[in-house]
Amino acid sequence: MLAYAFRRTLQSFPTVAAVALVVFVLFSVIPGSIATSMSDDGRGAMDAEVVQRMRKELGLDDPVYVRFAKYVGNLAVLDLGTSFRSREPVSQLLAKRMWPTMQLVLAAMGFAIVIGVPLGFVAAMRPGGVIDAVSMVTAVSGLSIAKFWFGLLLMYLFALKLGWFPTFGYGGWWYLVLPAVTLGVSPLALLARTTRAAALEVTNADFVRTARSKGMSEARVVRWHVVRNVAVIVLTTLGLQFGSLMGQAVVVEKLFSWPGIGSLLVDSVFQRDIPAVQGCILLIVLFFLVVNTLVDIACAVIDPRIKYT
């Protein structure tokens, strides 16, 4: 088991390296002259001298391989550069904003699991029944809705009209509710559907028939055989969910003015704060890879067929 965990972790290193490379290529090489692209924004041409200074600061005049070497070197010591805008080291900026994003993502995922999985299970117990139809329609709707629209509606209804929750900002867990529900809607829908499909597949499987032929009560059949097998399938989906959740979090954070990495990313893009943008992307991807690796390891713990790939 430990060997598998170790191997699996090792497998993600090349991906991390590749992503770092891509980020470098995207931001340091392609734009040609970052400094001039900053002035392309329609905010008026920048002073030639300012442009020169920026180029020097960014080391844009150095040849590519030197820049790349510096980049890698910096990464190794977790130096992500300095933000253009706030003159703070990017790593500090990220550290401040990491916890709010984690809170949001974890809360959203928790919400999705707590409601989505049982919903899918119940729907599968009576396929074709009322609960089944209603929950599946809800699920497909949840997948079709634009998160920021849903968030907007929630904000209007529960914050402005009913005043139960605050509209924007960050504070106690009271502020977390609306953003988490907004972000959690589509994983909830997907989990409900996946759980339902998995439960249906498992309850019709041969080994469940065997369990019944042993004289097991339905409750025991579910406890001893169905739950475990469904969990394996659902866990795999969960892992994939996290990735897109990180992406969606960007929009939700902006909507609710949630001080996380997502809103930092958006703001930095607008302000052409390249180091901050790079830092955000790297962190988000890193987080995603970590979660994926953990989920894979968890799957291997439960499913004995996996260990030896």
Binding site: W149, V251, I284
Partner: protein
Amino acid sequence: MKLGANILIGGALFLVAVLAGVFAPWIAHTDPVMDANLMVAEEPPSREFWFGTDAQGRDIYSRVLYGARISLTVGIFAQLVNTLIGTALGLSAGYWGGWWDDFVTGLTNLLLAIPSLIFALAIMAILGPGLTSLLIALGLTNWSFTCRLARASALSLKSQGYVQASKVLGYGDLRIMLTQLLPNMLGPLIVIGTLGMGGTILAEAALSFLGLGIRPPYPSWGSMLSEARDQITTAPWLSVFPGLAIFLTVLGLNLLGDGLRDILDPQSRSRRL
């Protein structure tokens, strides 16, 4: 949902959206950009302005219709690009194998490691806002599922008898891929394409909402919602209609995709419905 219902309802919803976009110039009441009358700014829905007006005094109804043009165009074209890239890469990777396969697989894994919205954001950051950059960003970031599917299909199909026979007959690789392999994977590809289109429409809306896609004054459903957010206390109706349009269109595509999946790709049925 029963078999036919998905396709009918989904298809109908999507068709309405497409028709709204196509016929916008004829069924809209005003020009969505130019006809701005501050005298009627922020009016709630009325007989004259079916969906109300925004802060600039523009008719929301007309803007939603024109928004269909933009949002759907981006969504459809971006998905087409995705499908093309994914199919070309996946099909060739599965068929040829070897280093090309390794390369494509590595590329796909890389793409999967970066959440697609983030990647699109990054590309938009470099290219700047606007329609073309939006198409590029969305087209380049969502092809991984299609690629995986095409590759898996190619792998399983290439050992079929008729493919071997074609090789013996001297068919060139390209011809085999296009005439033997591709038609057999069309079903699942269409399903993924349909469902993916819903995804690209949502992605465009998100990017425009953030201000990185279609910028005001041009009406994209996403950017309209961004404006709506600022007026939420004074003109809440602004938040309803563009979002509703997105919802119904994507819902239509999802239902359509589900329905098509039941027909074209019954093997994956067990995994879902």
